[in-house]
């Protein structure tokens, strides 16, 4: 069973800086993003300006018709880490939306690989565009996927 909270308060948090929004979500004053519950991410326990970490334990609900973890799960984890990192550098009254995601899948993910960790970082911000990257690694540092992203900043 998947449980999440009404997401409306997140949309109403635009007067906060991005990192303050992340701190309030981490502290429980704002709802956790629903997609994190959908996939079972452990996110927002490690972040600072320009960097965010999300991790998860692969489960059967992540499996594709081919009997392994769906590539879309890895893409979503990369997206969460990169979008959270981008969010950590936006000012009050700004928000950012992902406009591009690219991923390379290096190894197949199964339930046997243990907890996977994904660190997203901001490479740079140029005007309204924030460029990010992220990698998914296991506890021994073996890499499963990596990606780059582009977010566009919008003003309220």
């Amino acid at each position: 069973m998947i449980t999440w909270d009404d997401q409306a308060p997140l949309k109403q948090s635009r007067e906060l800086t991005g990192i303050e929004t992340l701190r309030r979500v981490a502290g429980g004053a704002l709802p956790r993003p629903a997609v994190s519950s959908l996939f079972g991410w452990d996110d927002l326990s490690e972040f600072d300006a320009g960097r965010a970490v999300a991790s998860f334990l692969p489960e059967e609900r992540h499996y594709s018709p081919l009997g392994v973890v769906h590539g879309g799960v890895a893409m979503s984890l990369l997206d969460t880490a990169m979008a959270t990192a981008a969010h950590s550098v936006v000012e009050a009254s700004e928000s950012c939306v992902t406009t591009q995601l690219k991923a390379l899948f290096v190894r197949v993910i199964t339930r046997g690989v243990g907890r996977l960790r994904c660190e997203g970082t901001v490479l740079h911000r140029e005007g309204d565009l924030i460029e990010t990257k992220a990698s998914i690694v296991d506890e021994r540092g073996k890499r499963y996927a990596h990606g780059t992203g582009m977010c566009r900043v919008q003003r309220a």
Partner: protein, 162 residues
């Protein structure tokens, strides 16, 4: 804060993949449409269904909902990417012989218009551009009920023959 819950049930995906190995990809899709091959746990988790397929192409219907939202209050770009990755995989599957499998090697996704529950059903269409012996190339797009494009993608996939 008001709590929402959703219960998902699925069938053993490893057993399903094993028993489908004897079928070619098109037969497997026909059996899925007839209900004798189960939907994958991932498709049930993100709430998509295969709503069309032909030789080298496929359509998936995605029902955007609050449970897909990220911190921006819209469907996470990663979820849209997953839908497009899925539809390109199904399009490829329609052309594969029995026993063959595949994995996505690389994917590039443009998210063009934000998607949220009021958009209604999103249709994703995937097409195989080229199927080589080892590598396939495909493209996909996601369109809302008014025909507006929401996302597009291209990918390359590794085909594994038995």
């Amino acid at each position: 804060m008001s709590k929402r819950t959703r219960t998902i049930t699925w069938e053993d995906p490893v057993a399903a993949a094993e028993s489908a190995r004897a079928m070619d990809g098109m037969q497997r899709l026909k059996n899925y449409a007839a209900g004798s091959v189960p939907a994958s746990p991932f498709a049930l988790t993100i709430d998509t269904e295969i709503t069309g397929f032909a030789e080298g192409s496929a359509e998936i219907t995605f029902h955007p909902a609050e449970f897909h939202y990220d911190i921006t209050g819209f469907v996470a770009a990663g979820v849209l990417a997953a839908v497009l990755d899925s539809v390109m995989g199904v399009a490829l599957q329609s052309q594969l012989p029995a026993g063959a499998g595949f994995v996505t090697l690389e994917i590039s996704v443009n998210t063009i218009r934000p998607v949220s529950a009021p958009c209604g059903d999103i249709k994703a269409e995937g097409t195989v551009l080229h199927l080589g012996r080892r590598i396939a190339y495909s493209e996909a797009r996601a369109v809302d009920g008014e025909g507006q494009i929401c996302a597009s993608a291209t990918s390359s996939l590794l085909v594994m023959h038995p």
